[in-house]
């Protein structure tokens, strides 16, 4: 009953979101597009990094790979095929990175993934300057922002569906086991290396697709734009704010932070990054388990208090 209701409510929300471009202007559609983009990025990031606690800063590496693939191929291939190629490149890079780094634990993994994003940016820059002789590419497509938005919305729905299915299956349990203690997980019979690799690859392919779908929005692309490390940090902090271990956590974190960042970058363009940094620190200190974790904790405490109180009242009455 509750499941059927939630599903209907969700379907209604997505239908309303899909219809939004007909009622909003170009600005409104562009705004929603950016929002859905970050919701998808944060959800895809949390798919792997949430339960396993492997904090990845490689988000922008895959995002940029997606965007660049489109910039290079959009004139020669049909747009759906460009997306397939981008996803495949993302997959191959994810598997290579995963095989070589998922043995790294904790902070080493964080640093490696951060370095990876920089490395790929440098390689693309080098290639463009020395081989193709240009830095920056123009990207003119024959469809408007609403088409980009619809594609992103579909990808967002798919990402949340994957997150839901993984959580419900035994692989959701597997990822939590990996996050808690990989040695115990292995000794329980879980092939940890394979599970980590598969989920890292799935998450990375979705992130690549976000970059690929959003690329036409810029009309001009260069490495400093699509490989901007701020994208990795924003994704991370959005997932953490909402609660990276929960299905709806990244959504809950991404919406308010996206609104805030839009407002900040419009009104305080010079102090934007300082405020961003302070916010990162505040979130990690105040809400280590995210908003949903915080609410859940207080909700259970409240209920425990209440039931204890009512027990006491009953006893006094009796």
């Amino acid at each position: 009953m509750i499941a059927a209701f939630s599903f209907t409510a969700l379907a209604a929300v997505f239908t309303a979101l899909a219809a939004a471009p007909f009622f909003l202007g170009t600005y409104g559609t562009g705004f929603l597009l950016g929002l859905v983009g970050y919701v998808t990025l944060a959800s895809a990031w949390a798919l792997f990094s949430g339960p396993t606690r492997y904090v990845s800063l490689a988000t922008v590496a895959f995002f940029g790979i997606g965007a660049y693939t489109v910039a290079v191929l959009y004139e020669t291939l049909p747009s759906w095929l460009v997306l397939v190629v981008a996803a495949l490149i993302g997959l191959v890079v994810a598997l290579l990175v995963g095989l070589s780094t998922l043995r790294l634990a904790g902070v080493y993994f964080v640093i490696f993934t951060f370095g990876l994003a920089e490395l790929i940016r440098q390689i693309v820059t080098w290639y463009e300057v020395n081989i193709t002789g240009t830095l920056g590419r123009y990207l003119f497509v024959d469809y408007g922002p609403e088409v980009v938005y619809w594609k992103l919305l579909a990808l967002c729905a798919v990402t949340l569906a994957i997150g839901y299915l993984v959580k419900r299956s035994r692989w959701g349990l597997a990822l939590k086991m990996i996050g808690d203690d990989e040695v115990v997980a292995e000794h329980c019979g879980l092939p940890t290396a394979r599970v980590k690799l598969a989920l890292f690859a799935a998450s990375s392919v979705i992130i690549t697709l976000v970059g690929a779908i959003q690329a036409p929005r810029w009309t001009y692309i260069e490495p400093t734009i699509v490989f901007n490390p701020t994208i990795s940090f924003l994704t991370l902090i959005m997932a953490l704010l909402g609660g990276a271990g929960r299905l709806w956590g990244p959504v809950v974190g991404a919406v308010p932070l996206f609104l805030l960042f839009e407002w900040l970058s419009a009104n305080f363009p010079d102090h934007y990054s300082i405020i961003l940094g302070l916010l990162f620190i505040a979130i990690v200190f105040v809400l280590p388990n995210g908003v949903l974790g915080f609410l859940e904790e207080h909700w259970t405490r409240l209920r425990a208090n209440r039931s204890a109180k009512s027990d006491l009242e009953k006893r006094e009455a009796g």
Binding site: L173, A185, E186
Partner: protein, 244 residues
């Protein structure tokens, strides 16, 4: 009876240090044996190599004739080896039930979820944790964490159970409960290898003992005789006592 575990010339070197040196022994199906030795004699390292936690430098481990060495721990777990850890390791973000469910759901041929949950309840009863399903695993007392770890090891339906100082740190009444639990398991046909320092438990549970010192096997046989062996006494107490 047939040999279940066959350890041949097992060796582990850490740089210049040889932690386990040419260790060989076998365990029969259904046997309970102790692996003894002073601190640093290589017992835990030997256990780690059998369970796949650490790779062997050389030598082989066979279970039912199947080679375990060179395989990852999850493969060895599927082959039928389960273990507990010297320092209890719990999956701290999971509750008690989920800690056991984890091992049921990822063993070889896992059951459907409903069957698995019933099985978890039986395992919790077996180790004395009935009705504690929803408690946070990290906030259990030490003995209860040990019980949970044992249930988790049993959840993978092992042929061979490796217990690394599972009885250490228990008070006398907990100790007798623990000894009872282990002997029950053995009656169910599980072969058990214990690394242990608690002598009362060793005498009560293990008809046989293998003793290591400085990485080498120095004795192997009936527990009472092995404990009288002059070389074993010397290893535990030092040379001066053995002469007297």
């Amino acid at each position: 009876m047939q040999d279940l575990l066959d350890v041949r010339n097992l060796t582990k070197r850490f740089g210049g240090l040889t932690a386990v040196n040419d260790l060989s022994f076998t365990l029969r199906q259904g046997e309970v044996a102790a692996l003894l030795g002073p601190n640093g004699s290589g017992k835990t390292t030997a256990l780690n190599m059998i369970s796949g936690f650490q790779p062997a430098s050389s030598g082989t481990v066979l279970l039912d004739g199947e080679r375990l060495t060179g395989r990852p721990p999850h493969w060895i777990s599927h082959a039928g080896v389960a273990r507990t850890f010297q320092l209890v390791r719990v999956l701290s973000s999971l509750n008690v039930e989920e800690n056991i469910l984890a091992a049921v759901m990822f063993r070889k041929n896992p059951p459907a979820k409903e069957t698995a949950q019933e099985e978890v309840q039986r395992l919790l009863e077996d180790v004395g944790l009935a009705g504690r399903s929803n408690e946070n695993a990290a906030s259990l007392t030490y003995i209860d964490q040990k019980r949970m770890e044992l249930a988790r090891a049993l959840a993978s339906k092992p042929k061979l159970l490796l217990l690394d100082e599972w009885l250490a740190g228990l008070n006398p009444s907990e100790l007798s409960i623990g000894i009872g639990l282990i002997s029950n398991l053995n009656e169910k046909g599980i072969t058990i290898l214990l690394v242990e320092h608690v002598m009362d438990a060793i005498r009560a549970l293990c008809p046989r003992a293998v003793v290591m010192n400085a990485g080498r096997k120095i004795a192997d046989g009936a527990t009472a005789e092995v404990l009288r062996d002059p070389e074993v006494v010397r290893a535990y107490l030092g040379g001066a006592h053995a002469v007297a």
